[in-house]
């Protein structure tokens, strides 16, 4: 294994995930949702809504957000944060597209927003 792929796992091709959709990667620690937006950005989030655990992978992907299928909370894919006025966030995982292939870093879970100030509020 070279440095580039260390800790990274190949999970499929970009084309395997429908545009404006998501697929699930099952892991021992639970499901991870891999989203592909209308402009081919890819994000990986824990597949559990911060509200009541709804499977985010089943939601409607719009812009860089997903609407939870259970009660319609909106989650920002980039930060993992619920869109205001809802409050909560889900863990994000690093994903990369290399040569049309998707790589996921399983041990790289990140909580909170892109900056520390936006950290996740857990009560």
């Amino acid at each position: 294994m070279n440095a580039m792929t260390e800790g990274w796992l190949k999970i499929g091709r970009l084309h395997d995930v429908p545009r404006q959709g998501a697929r699930v990667v099952r892991t021992a620690a639970g499901a991870i949702a891999v989203f592909r937006t209308h402009d081919d950005q890819v994000y990986a989030l824990e597949d559990r809504c911060p509200h009541k655990g709804g499977p985010l992978s089943q939601g409607i992907v719009h812009g860089h957000r997903v609407a939870c299928p259970l009660h319609d909370w909106r989650i920002d894919l980039e930060s993992g944060q619920a869109v205001a006025p809802d409050v909560g966030c889900v863990a994000r995982y690093p994903v990369r597209i290399i040569d049309g292939e998707l790589w996921l870093q399983l041990n790289g879970a990140m909580l909170g927003g892109p900056t520390p100030a936006q950290g996740c509020r857990h009560d």
Binding site: G12, Q20, R23, V25, G54, P55, I60, H62, P69
Partner: protein
């Protein structure tokens, strides 16, 4: 280069709302400076009335405290009006000499109260009713003087009179016209209002004109002399005779004004596109608005352009008025006087002190004037705004919404007031009264939409909407009313459902991106509200041609099952007319065991639900069910659900026709069709109606002479009993009518509008005209339905069992 500079003149309701909307859209775009003439931060002017009565305090009505300005980096100069605009240099100058240059200028200078040019008008003790200073002057005067005269018996005058009376003064209202609030009320309603106010101790001089204000020894006003000689003693005189748009500064700057600052639909001044204007200082299409709801609409549009989105348009508003005098219920909207070509429906109930008048033109409500019982005001207003044909409702209209089948929750206002803070208002989201009131107060919410966004109350099934509106009315002081003149499909567009449908049809738009491009969608790919709607509209417009977009469907329709709270799915195979054979029951039982269904339940729709199926197993479950002859029951879809039947003449001693057989035929003709919302049918074998046909979207009640056809029923959130569509003689006619009705619904209803609200909106007369009275029209609808069914009656389960859309069901990868 720094940020572009935005200067706002006027720190009032419209100006600051525009800034708030702008910050939402583009928080960092501008360097913002605000000048305000008053020495206060932005406050809720509407609530000056309850402050005057003592029901609220000044602190409670502040909308944006000083630290709000600081937090958003806004430079605020209070107590320092702008006195000069130099358009050539793009600089404004304030009274204290501060200069601020601008790239964009927003004028929101509001109105000035009209001061009658009477002898004595400038005396001490003569005030208007416009701002905090006026209210403070009135409160102070009420402590020292006993008598007050209010000149003007309009909205503001009466609210002032009521407030001063509440503070213990003897008040006389002098009014020029022969009845009160003549611009909002007709004479009978105004008389009732007058009687109520007289009972509270307010005196009136109607058709009376003030001639002069007289000074006492101290030089302060001491009396009002009327034409005819009567002299009314007064230690305080309030002039509330109208307002005039405050255009002085704009005129001096050479901006075109015609009663207000003239703006176009983007709220840019017609003279200088760098200068925007909103609020009461504006004249838009010749109209000037003096209520906040339309001003907030303007604010939204102006913010949209300032944020450089450049798509919103303001096209005017219809407004409705309420009087904020506690205990007085009054509501008026539109052309309430009637006249030539109009028809009036009037209800008088002197015992209860109730008066209601509706003005109709060509079967549509054009005006309403309600006194004593205004509960249905917003409903009439909605019917009016949407231009609904009310012919079919005519007889029951006056009794209110509760009597047209929409058996809501009784009088929400009375109910809500009695409730303790802990009472649950929204059963769906578990939101209680105290939480909603706190949110309205603390987050400064004005509209139903805002309460929904912040509290989730009324955001789901909507049945508590009336209660939430009542809470808003309680907290915001009665007038949060009026909405924009048209409701956009969703926040991604300013077009309505009907406009979008028309564009799809007339401009031959055939994909979601094409619609979004042509209609200038504000978001790159829509939202969960518009995408499913567009997908349906396209499917309905171009059967067989449009390629369904799975990603624009809610998960249930994408996965052809109902998602459960634990992420598993339920499976409901179609059971035609509720009739099932032992062999079929065995096949279902085998599937339930093989895939470990967690529960098997008989549904309320005469079929069987298998719960707790893992998503990955769905295709296999369906393969086994297909093999036994089952197709999808569409229990998850905006589509035909069930056709409930009773045993009918096959077994029942009362049965008049074969209701079971007819139900199966109806189900076979219509299954698979996508619709604006779910659609349920039932066939009962006699008027005992064991299949509950009269609360279905389309219900058949068999009678000896044939079949009664009923439409627009609903057994859900708000029970609505069907309307009788017609009576026919043969099964073939039943099926043709059913299909034609469905097709009309498919072509005309808004997405997510069930038949009950649709029928109420467009009117039964319209449906009868298209489906019953005009046989050619019915035939054509029927043909179009058959045509679309040719492309719809493919079992989605069988397709997926054979490998269709496999990615939907299999995980991308499993890592152990």
């Amino acid at each position: 280069m720094g940020k572009p500079k935005l200067v706002v003149i006027g720190n009032g309701m419209a100006g600051m709302r525009t800034v708030e909307e702008l910050l939402k859209l583009a928080p960092d775009l501008y360097d913002i400076t605000v000048f305000g003439e008053e020495p206060h931060p932005n406050y809720n002017r509407i609530l000056l009335s309850p402050v005057l009565t003592g029901e609220q305090t000044l602190d409670q009505i502040i909308l944006n405290p000083l630290d709000w300005y600081a937090q958003h980096g806004i430079r605020l100069h209070t107590g320092d009006p702008v006195v000069h605009i130099d358009r050539a240099r793009r600089v404004v100058v304030s009274r204290s000499g501060i200069e601020a240059s601008y790239d964009r200028l927003l004028m929101a200078t509001g109105s000035r109260p009209v001061r009658l040019p009477l002898p004595g008008a400038e005396l001490a003790g003569v005030v208007c009713f416009r701002d905090i200073a006026d209210v403070q002057a009135m409160v102070a005067a009420a402590r020292e003087y006993r008598q007050a005269v209010v000149i003007g018996g309009g909205l503001l005058g009466l609210e002032a009179a009521n407030g001063l009376r509440a503070r213990g003064m003897q008040v006389t209202v002098v009014h020029l016209a022969s009845w009160l609030m003549e611009r909002q009320l007709d004479e009978p309603a105004a008389r009732l209002l007058q009687r109520t106010l007289e009972e509270r101790g307010i005196a009136f001089r109607l058709a009376a004109q003030t001639e002069a204000l007289q000074a006492g020894e101290s030089g302060r006003v001491c009396a009002v002399r009327l034409k005819g000689g009567e002299v009314l003693p007064a230690g305080l005189v309030v002039m509330a005779v109208g307002i005039r748009p405050n255009t002085q500064l704009a005129e001096a700057a050479g901006l075109h004004c015609n009663r207000g600052i003239v703006v176009d639909d983007t709220l840019q001044t017609v003279t200088d596109p760098r200068i925007y204007a909103v609020g009461e200082c504006v004249s838009h299409r010749g109209v000037f608005y003096g209520l906040v709801a339309p001003l907030f609409e303007q604010a939204k549009v102006a913010a949209n352009h300032l944020a450089r989105f450049g798509i919103a348009r303001y096209t005017g508003s219809i407004t409705a008025t309420k009087l904020k005098v506690t205990g007085v219920d009054l509501y008026s909207a539109g052309d309430f006087m009637g006249g030539e070509g109009c028809e009036e429906i009037v209800l008088r109930d002197a015992g209860r002190g109730v008066y209601k008048k509706l003005v109709l033109r060509q079967g549509r409500i054009v005006g309403a004037c309600l006194y004593g019982d205004t509960l249905d005001g917003p409903w009439y207003f909605e019917l009016m705004r949407e231009g609904s044909d009310v012919t079919a409702l005519r007889e029951r209209l006056m009794f209110g919404r509760a009597h047209v089948g929409d058996a809501g929750h009784g009088d929400p206002r009375a109910r809500v007031q009695q409730l303790p803070d802990s009472a649950e208002i929204c059963g769906c989201n578990g939101v209680c009264k105290g939480t909603i009131l706190a949110a309205i107060r603390d987050q400064k919410l004005f509209t139903l939409e805002e309460v929904r966004a912040h509290t989730k109350a009324s955001a789901s099934c909507g049945s508590c909407t009336g209660l939430v509106e009542a809470l808003l009315a309680m907290a915001v002081g009665g007038d949060h009313s009026t909405a924009p003149s048209k409701k956009p499909l969703c926040p991604c567009t300013h077009y309505t459902h009907d406009e979008v449908r028309a564009a799809i049809r007339d401009q031959g738009l055939k994909s979601i991106p094409a619609v979004m491009r042509r209609l200038e969608w504000k978001t790159p790919d829509g939202c969960p509200k518009c995408r499913p709607a567009l997908n349906y509209y396209l499917l309905a417009a171009w059967p067989g041609e449009y390629a369904d977009d799975a990603q624009s469907r809610f998960i249930n329709e994408r996965a052809h099952g109902n998602i459960q709270k634990d992420g598993s799915f339920s499976v409901v195979p179609r059971i035609w007319g509720g009739v099932v054979s032992p062999r079929e029951l065995r096949a279902i039982a085998a599937v339930a065991e093989k895939y470990q269904a967690a529960e098997v339940k008989i549904t309320g729709g005469q079929r069987i639900d298998l719960f707790g199926i893992r998503k990955e197993d769905l295709p296999a479950v369906w393969r086994d069910l297909s093999a036994a002859g089952f197709v999808s029951g569409h229990a998850y879809g905006k589509a035909l659900r069930t056709v409930k039947t009773c045993v009918g003449s096959r077994w029942c001693r009362f049965g008049t026709q074969d209701s079971t057989g007819l139900g199966i035929k109806l189900e076979q003709a219509t299954w698979g069709s996508w619709m604006p919302h779910k659609f349920k049918m039932a066939v009962s074998g006699c008027p005992r109606n064991c299949a509950e046909a009269t609360i279905k979207d389309f219900g058949v009640v068999c009678v000896d002479s044939g079949y009664e056809l009923h439409v627009g029923g609903n057994g859900g959130i708000k029970v609505r009993v069907t309307d009788l569509l017609t009576h026919v003689k043969t099964e073939a006619e039943v099926i043709e009518h059913a299909c034609a009705f469905i097709q009309l619904y498919r072509e005309e209803a808004h997405y997510l509008e069930r038949t009950a609200p649709w029928v109420e909106r467009v009117g039964l007369a319209h449906i009868k005209a298209r489906v019953v009275e005009d046989a050619d029209s019915r035939r054509a609808l029927y043909e179009r339905f058959l045509q679309s069914q040719r492309h719809a009656q493919h079992d989605p389960w069988a397709e997926r069992a054979q490998g269709g859309a496999a990615h939907e069901f299999a995980p991308l990868e499993t890592v152990v």
